[in-house]
C-alpha cells in the first residue's frame, strides 16, 4: 500500500523562499537549497518548488536552482511556475526535477497536458489548480490563474476531471481562501475533487495544526498534504507530522 505523503512547498522569489497569506504579504523564509535539504533530512516524502517570479529573466535562475537541489536532495521534487512549453519541461526534468507542475499555461492551452504526458509519462505531469470559492454558487469553486490574480470562470471539479483525461498524473489543489491562514484545509473542496478523479490529489492551503493534516486525508480524501508556513516557521517538524498521522492509523513512511 502506498503511504500518504508530506510535501513541504517552497515558493521561490528572486532566489529566496517566501511565504504569504492569501497569496500576498510575503515573508522571507530562507535559502531554497538549504531548506529543501533540511526537509529531506527530516523525512519529507517529496518537495515542491514554485517559482512565483516566473518571468523570462527568472527562467535561467530556476533551472540553476533545480540543478543545485538535485545535487543535494535525494527525494522526488516538483518544480512549477511559468512553465508553458514541452521544451521547458524537458529542460527541467533533465536538470533533475522528477515532476513539473502546470497551472496558467494548462488553462490557456489544455493540449500541453497531453503533449507532456505523451512525451514524459503522466507520472511527471502535475496540474496545479488555484481554487477560489464562489460566493454566488455554494459548493462550487472557480479556477484562478496568473498567481491567483485572474478568475477564469472555469469550475474546479470540471477542470480537474478534464485534466485527468488530457494527461495530468496528479492534482495540486490549492484553496486560495485558506492559503496561509493556518485555519485548516478546505476539505469540502478536497473531497469534491478527490471524489471526481482517480489520480492523486495533493491538498494545499491552510495547514496550521497537526489535526488539519489528518482531516485533509480522512475528510478531504487527499493522497498527500502540502504545507509551507507551518514548516518554514518551525511550528512543527516533518517527523512530528508523520508520527502524529501514523499514531492515528494513517500509513506513513517513517
Amino acid at each position: 500500500m502506498l503511504t500518504k505523503r508530506i510535501i513541504p512547498c517552497l515558493d521561490v522569489k528572486d532566489g529566496r523562499v517566501v511565504k504569504g497569506v492569501n497569496f500576498v504579504n510575503l515573508r522571507d523564509a530562507g535559502d531554497p537549497v538549504e531548506l529543501g535539504k533540511r526537509y529531506s533530512d527530516e523525512g519529507a516524502d517529496e518537495l515542491v518548488f514554485l517559482d512565483i517570479t516566473a518571468t523570462i529573466r527568472s527562467r535561467k535562475t530556476i533551472v540553476e536552482l533545480v540543478e543545485k537541489v538535485a545535487e543535494n536532495v535525494f527525494i522526488p521534487f516538483t518544480v512549477g511556475g511559468g512553465i508553458s512549453s514541452v521544451d521547458q519541461i524537458d529542460e527541467l526534468l533533465r536538470s533533475g526535477a522528477e515532476k513539473v507542475s502546470l497551472n496558467t499555461a494548462a488553462v490557456q492551452n489544455p493540449n500541453l497536458l497531453t503533449e507532456a504526458a505523451q512525451r514524459f509519462g503522466n507520472q511527471c505531469v502535475v496540474l496545479a489548480i488555484d481554487a477560489r470559492r464562489c460566493k454566488e454558487r455554494k459548493g462550487h469553486w472557480q479556477v484562478t490563474v496568473k498567481a491567483g490574480s485572474e478568475p477564469t470562470g472555469l469550475d474546479v471539479v470540471e477542470w480537474a476531471v478534464k485534466a485527468e483525461k488530457l494527461g495530468a498524473g496528479e492534482i495540486l489543489l490549492t484553496s486560495m481562501d485558506a492559503d496561509g491562514t493556518k485555519a485548516g484545509y478546505d476539505n469540502e473542496l478536497n473531497k469534491a475533487v478527490s471524489d471526481a478523479v482517480n489520480i492523486p490529489v495533493i491538498a494545499s492551503g491552510g495547514a496550521g495544526e497537526l489535526e488539519h493534516l489528518y482531516d485533509a486525508i480522512v475528510k478531504g480524501g487527499a493522497d498527500a498534504v502540502l504545507m509551507a508556513s507551518i514548516t518554514h516557521f518551525e511550528n512543527y517538524t516533518i517527523t512530528q507530522m508523520k508520527e502524529y498521522l501514523a499514531s492515528r492509523g494513517i500509513p506513513m513512511n517513517l
Binding site: 500500500m1 502506498l2 503511504t3 505523503r5 529531506s40 523525512g43 516524502d45 538535485a70 545535487e71 543535494n72 535525494f74 527525494i75 522526488p76 526534468l93 533533465r94 536538470s95 533533475g96 522528477e98 514524459f120 509519462g121 503522466n122 507520472q123 511527471c124 498524473g169 496528479e170 482517480n198 489520480i199 492523486p200 493522497d223 513512511n253
Partner: protein, 203 residues
Amino acid sequence: MLVVIDYNVGNVKSVCNAFRHIGCEAKLSCSPEDIKNAAGLVLPGVAAFGYAISALGPLAGLIKKLALAGKPLLGICVGYQMLFDQSVEYGSHKGLGLISGNVVPIPDTQVIPHMGWNLVKFPRDMDLFADLPKEKHFYFAHSFYADVADPGAKIAYTDYGFQLPASVQKDTIYGTQFHPEKSGNAGLKVLENFSKICKRKAT
C-alpha cells in the same frame, strides 16, 4: 570506478549525483572502453521500454556479455526492466534476457501509475539491502512491472494489491523497480551497498 551508462534517456544525472553524495566515483559514459574498464555498471532509465532499448543500441550486447562474465550490474526502473526477456509496453520489445521473465502492465484494478512510497520487504540474503532493517519504504513511479520467472533469482516484494517484485538479484546482476536515487537515506544505502559489491569484486 563505476560507470553510469549514458544513453540519452531522462534524468540519468540524479543517479550520478547520488553516487557522488555517498563519496563514490561514478562516471556518466557511453564509451565501450569505459564500460569494459568499469568496476561495475549502472543502467538507469526514465523512458518507455522500447525507446530505451533502442537508444541503448549496440551497447546492449556489450553490457550483456560483461554482466554474464561477472561484472556487477545494477538496473534501475526501466533499466531494471530491460534485464528481463521482453516487455509489452507499446508493442513487444526484446530485453537483455539476463533474468527470465516478462515486463507486463500493472493490473488495472490498481491506480496506475504506481507512484509514491511503498514498503519493500527483503529476504535476508539480498546483497543490496545489507545493513538495512528487514523492510523499508522506497519511491516508485511506473506503470509496468517484471513478472519474474527465473528460479535462480532472489526477489524482494512490495504490496500493491498483489505481490509486486521490487528488486531482483541473480548472481551479480541486480535490479530495482524503485528509484534508489530518489528514496532518501534508504536509497542511498542501496547504492552504497552496490558500490561495495563492485569494490569487493574488483579486488
